[in-house]
Symmetry: D2
Subunit: 448 residues, 4 copies
């Protein structure tokens, strides 16, 4: 019986992904504890800090299947943290009291934080794969529609033409920056924690730093300069990274929603039988995935703020702030996995209606080309005179509902310089796409 | 396999409660859908809008045990919402195609919103019960310690004495305001939704308002003046209410944490064997529950912000904002249930060390009584002269580490007016508690 | 030289209002301190706690013009709070050292909090007036357009018809709930603070509660049951109230933005020469006010979260949380004043294009009336058969781009029962408005 | 008359800094517009796109002193944005209508965004300088107190000893990561915007990309791959960076507040006469700066969430989200400037009481050394036996209030192996500092 949407038997496939939910599952978290305890035992056995026999025995039991989860729940409720429960069960599994050498010199938070980092590594790998797929889909659309005209909109008003490829390339440029951010933060985040009760490793009278170095090597994590039990900028940075990625996906979903409006109809989320449709309103084509994305990223940006709150950690081991991370990190990752999945789905199957795009450009009967006409007439009439004349004709076109071309062609001052076909060329959006294609090319060229 | 802490097999009892998780479970949500469909059928049967036979048949199948949850997941992933899946399964359970009369005139959001309101009602009842218990515990402490002196602290500096009962009564006054808020918002929130595709109930050509009124009566909910599909102030208000309650619990947990410091030691969370203690550091007594409370309410206040974001709903049925509520409401309620449970636990078993409180007052050897001494000497020396003299002696006491009483008694100008016993009385915190007791009484008297 | 938009010489009129900025100005805050000191002196003079002569002298100098603001800044930077600086300047203004009786028994936070409450009272009065004006404008539109059909939209898809009055009445219902919330919270919020260093009023050996009661009466504020120096639910509630109002204004602005789209064009923000237009794109009509509203309320909902954070106040006088309120409260009020002003401007001058609304309904050539047709044919063909037949014809209409009426009229099974005029009536949105008018009437009837 | 604390005549020096307020002032913003217009004119003159004479004339008037700010306010309120007002005034200042060539091919958002980037560059330079100063102060303390023992605290309980240098080095490691983040994000953020109405630069029929490249070079900003009018991850990243820095400063302020408690008294904010003290409570030493820091960073993390909300930008130029940045960016920078200033003040003048630190370690009469004793006895008694024996003696020490050393020395099993001096050495915190010094050295060695 799940209470959250993320774990809901009904909704889990919508708001998260199986892979990401697995990363943050009880099983995986507990297995990570065991992986770390095993690695620690191996290192300390090798260093001669604990008997090799103990190291071998401990490592042989570090499988989550051997842990009694119901017992672990009771232990956790009593102690407040699950690590000691796991250590106690692990110790009991070992023969000849060799389990006493388990968790040697470690503190609860060492294991918990390092496990979290290992989960973050897995979670970021999933995010990275989705970003790569989204990037590829965007690049494909950018290339395919490099020169497909559509209206550019400013303040939700039709402004001047762009291309659909240009729109996709803009998003692509943002996704690429996120991939760069991810690469940079990994160096800060993928760092182990092994420092003892107050971070000084006093619990190991000999071999302290060697154990730390060895453990980090075993786990393929960087070694910290100093304990980070209450220095949580790295964890919070992961949250802000997810929030920033969410912002870009939110922009994508906003544009898709707006383009799918009945009155616009330029792109559609992939069709699947019954998906996002209504039993009584066949004209509807709901942007279902975009709704999910919008919702998830709205929540995740608040999670980012909560993770910054968690940075206000007191002294050497914090009293409450740490637990904020426990709650928020799994949810932020799981919801982002859902948003990324839905974004991939949208982009990989996006239906683009180039004809509708063209039709919408023509909706104003030429008005959106006024800037182009002003610039085309400038050399003949003078810039300002051209501006004023075209502006007046546009207002006439609006009030009389007549095509701008007709008014332009009928105006003696204009027809003196340009005939109707020349004016029609000025009014052709394909001739006023500016650097759309160049910018698409620049973004595509920047890909690795 | 759960991924969130709320649903975690290990942590669910810590960060939430079984009762609250049940309220927001897949089973209860789905049962609520069925309850509403049954009520709708009953009302429409009674009104003659659908055959009585259909009403009876439909109602007879409205049990969640009859729903195939795996199928429902697939239906939900295809359609985007679970309601139609439930309706379709319910229809199929009915004999003789009587299921066609199910969901008559309703839209998905009608059922979803009304189910949410029913869940909110159950959730608020649990909150209300916890608030009552917390109020009772606070009142008990306020009464018992009405006159137990402890130092009042300002800016984390010892200031002047208060009583522990006064501290408890302050919290009690806030809890009572929350109970008042809860009573007031219920009238706005416990309102059904039944309005059809765009809220106009055009889907029912006859009996529309009668059906709406009847359904509300069946469910014991208020009838809306108008559809609220995209007017979500009420839902957001529930979130802000939970956030406000969280703020008060956070203040409680902050004070408990500070009073449990090794250097302070005035109160303790209830002791349970092994709870919050360390295997190697027997001097530790960790404020475990306070940690959990701190973390939960930090997250819930961000949830409140997300629910306000969800108010930015477009047109007649929103495109994404609604789903924010789906994610956030269950979590906010579940986390608050955990915070309330932990707060009850802390307050109902709180250990109060009145001796330590007295000892801490005396830590500064009288300095915290300087205001009292200034006021006591004022009538003899003049207010300002008394202030300056005492202030100087206090600084001397600090620099020489001598008790203030010694310095006061040794000063000729002072000893001329007051002898050592009289000065000792001025320095007795029990004589400088001001209106602590009166304020406690005022708060207690305000209870119903 | 201002750095914030609220105080900007350029933007202040856009993002706030002069009246609200005045409420939170240095001058008004400082005058409030003085008003309280004057009231305190008057009460204590009356009670004989200080000489009447002192009370009169103090009160006679409580005018902000007499305060040296540059000096006050220096005092504030030294002490950390402005109140003692004001008291010190006030004392110096008094003849014969009568100023010594100023601030008798009060603590800095007493004056600061009570001043804040007085500012909140003024701020809420401005909010209340704007809500009343918005309510009146919405009621006017709801009445005028009770029966003006427009398309209802769900998931940004055209769904079924509603009326514009119905849309306005929905917003009106939310505004009315906000007015109710405001009335209810005033009783909790408009409460004075007068409690001394740790809240016990030990600073007044006689007449403590009488002074408190008298001060509250002087200021027309309620008397607290107990000090609320670190119980900040009331202040946070003001923040959440503003956030909730912001949510509704955000919904209004979202709908206006969407309806002003070039492709939709159903309503317009009031026109003013040059307002929201482009020098080169005459077709543009930017929803400028809606942009401002959107931005302001996005920030204010985060302010609400910050105010809930400020509730985590330690002990008897908090160490940092209090100052969160100092920063956030003025901004939340000022930004909301801007959002309310812009909302009034939009609503009081809103241009409604009923013809465009009708045109948009017809955009799909009848498809949005499919539900109506299904229901109209139900009695003749059976509900399910009617549904399936109409659904198929709708899909044919989409694929062939033909009007639904033509297809319906051409279908033998249908034309057998209903002729073309009867079918046209079914397709007339004015005949499928459901309870739009009834709901409008219900909301209007609920107004006081 | 200012309404915000940032611009308050009383508080501006507390919650912000003059330098940062100057960066975000009306004057500087407007001057940046003019700088960009001048640079644009110069580039376009050089490229022959506009007459050199016009370029010279325009550039000669690009001084904010020539702008009529009152007029600009009126223009801004009419148009909705200030840029066109500035352009119009600038044009009017130019002789012979040469001003017509001003703003050639640019759109309002090009100028606004680029100005914002220039302000961000100035703002980040101030942040960078403060981070460097904070880093230096922390390094100084870390070095000076590399071996100064103090108690490490976990869950606000005394745990095991650390050194004060270790505590400082931990903070230092976080500050260094922030400096790394800042260096990395500059490459993404310090990018100009110049793209025309919908980002395609169609407004320049020739020389579009050359103008863009030239303008970027003039302003020493990077050239964008594509317009970023509605791709705001970079702006939001600046906000999250400030929020992350705030988290670390919040942790610093939390620790200082806790260490300044009357009952702890280990460090003090710098003393200045009257600063943070009470007129009647001479024992108080308020952590004033820490309060300000706490409050500022609480607000800034909410600003970060608002900036992520601003990423949900529609189409080519957004309708409201952009204005969120206008409000939030200046405030986030100004508040952080205040928090950084206060943090520098605290750290550069921090008073460290090493004796008090030692005294606090001894508060529990040896209990905090229990882990050390267990480990010291392990080789003699066996690890587990040592643990159990010491644990029992610790409990006895607590219940009998006797020093642990006495109990250890009196125990026959223990005294057999270790005499009192040897036991005293085990109980000496200076002998149980673990890798504190090594970690300090590692952090210091990592500095450039």
């Amino acid at each position: 019986m799940a209470s959250t949407l993320i774990d809901s038997a009904i909704f889990q496939g919508i708001f998260s992904s199986d892979e990401m939910r697995q990363v943050w599952s009880d099983e995986n978290r507990t297995q990570k504890y065991l992986d770390i305890e095993a690695a620690l035992a191996r290192v300390q056995g090798r260093l001669g800090l604990i008997p090799q026999e103990a190291a071998d025995e401990i490592a042989s039991h570090c499988r989550v299947e051997q842990i009694d989860m119901a017992l672990l729940r009771r232990q956790t409720e009593r102690i407040g943290y699950p690590v000691l429960g796991v250590v106690s069960q692990l110790g009991a599994l070992c023969r000849d009291r060799l389990g006493e050498y388990c968790h040697w010199g470690a503190t609860t938070q060492d294991i918990t934080d390092t496990a979290t980092v290992l989960q973050i590594r897995e979670g970021l790998a999933l995010v990275e794969a989705d970003l790569a797929a989204i990037s590829a889909a965007l690049a494909r659309h950018a290339k395919a529609h490099r020169d497909t005209p559509m209206i550019g909109r400013s303040n939700l008003q039709q402004a001047v033409p762009v291309t659909f490829g240009y729109k996709m390339a803009g998003l692509l440029s943002a996704i690429e920056r996120h991939r760069q951010r991810l690469a940079q933060l990994k160096a800060r985040v993928l760092v182990a924690e092994f420092a003892g009760a107050a971070g000084t490793l006093a619990s190991l009278q000999t071999g302290a730093m060697a154990t730390q170095a060895g453990l980090c090597a075993e786990l393929d994590l960087a070694q910290p300069l100093i304990a980070w039990h209450t220095l949580r900028d790295n964890i919070a940075e992961v949250g802000t990274f997810l929030g920033l990625v969410g912002g870009t996906l939110g922009k994508l979903s906003m544009d898709v929603k707006l383009m799918m409006q009945t009155e616009v109809g330029e792109v559609y989320e992939p069709y699947a039988h019954g998906r996002g449709s209504s039993s009584t309103m066949p004209q509807k084509r709901n942007p279902i995935s975009s709704c999910y994305i919008h919702a998830a990223v709205s929540v995740v940006r608040q999670h980012a703020a909560a993770l910054m709150d968690a940075m206000i950690a007191d002294h050497e081991r914090s009293t409450g702030p740490w637990e904020i991370e426990w709650i928020v990190l799994p949810e932020a990752f799981c919801l982002m996995a859902g948003a990324l999945k839905q974004s991939r789905f949208v982009l990989e199957g996006l239906e683009v209606d180039a004809q509708a795009m063209r039709r919408n450009i023509e909706l104003t009967q030429g008005l959106v080309m006024s800037e182009a006409v002003m610039m085309g007439l400038g050399p003949h009439l003078g810039r300002e005179a051209a501006h004023d004349l075209v502006y007046d004709l546009c207002r006439e076109a609006v009030s009389t509902q007549r095509p701008l071309l007709d008014l332009l062609a009928a105006h003696p001052e204009i027809s003196r310089h340009l005939d109707r076909p020349a004016l029609a060329r000025l009014l052709d959006p394909a001739n006023y796409l500016g650097q759309s294609g160049v910018m698409v090319d620049r973004v595509l060229a920047s890909l690795g």
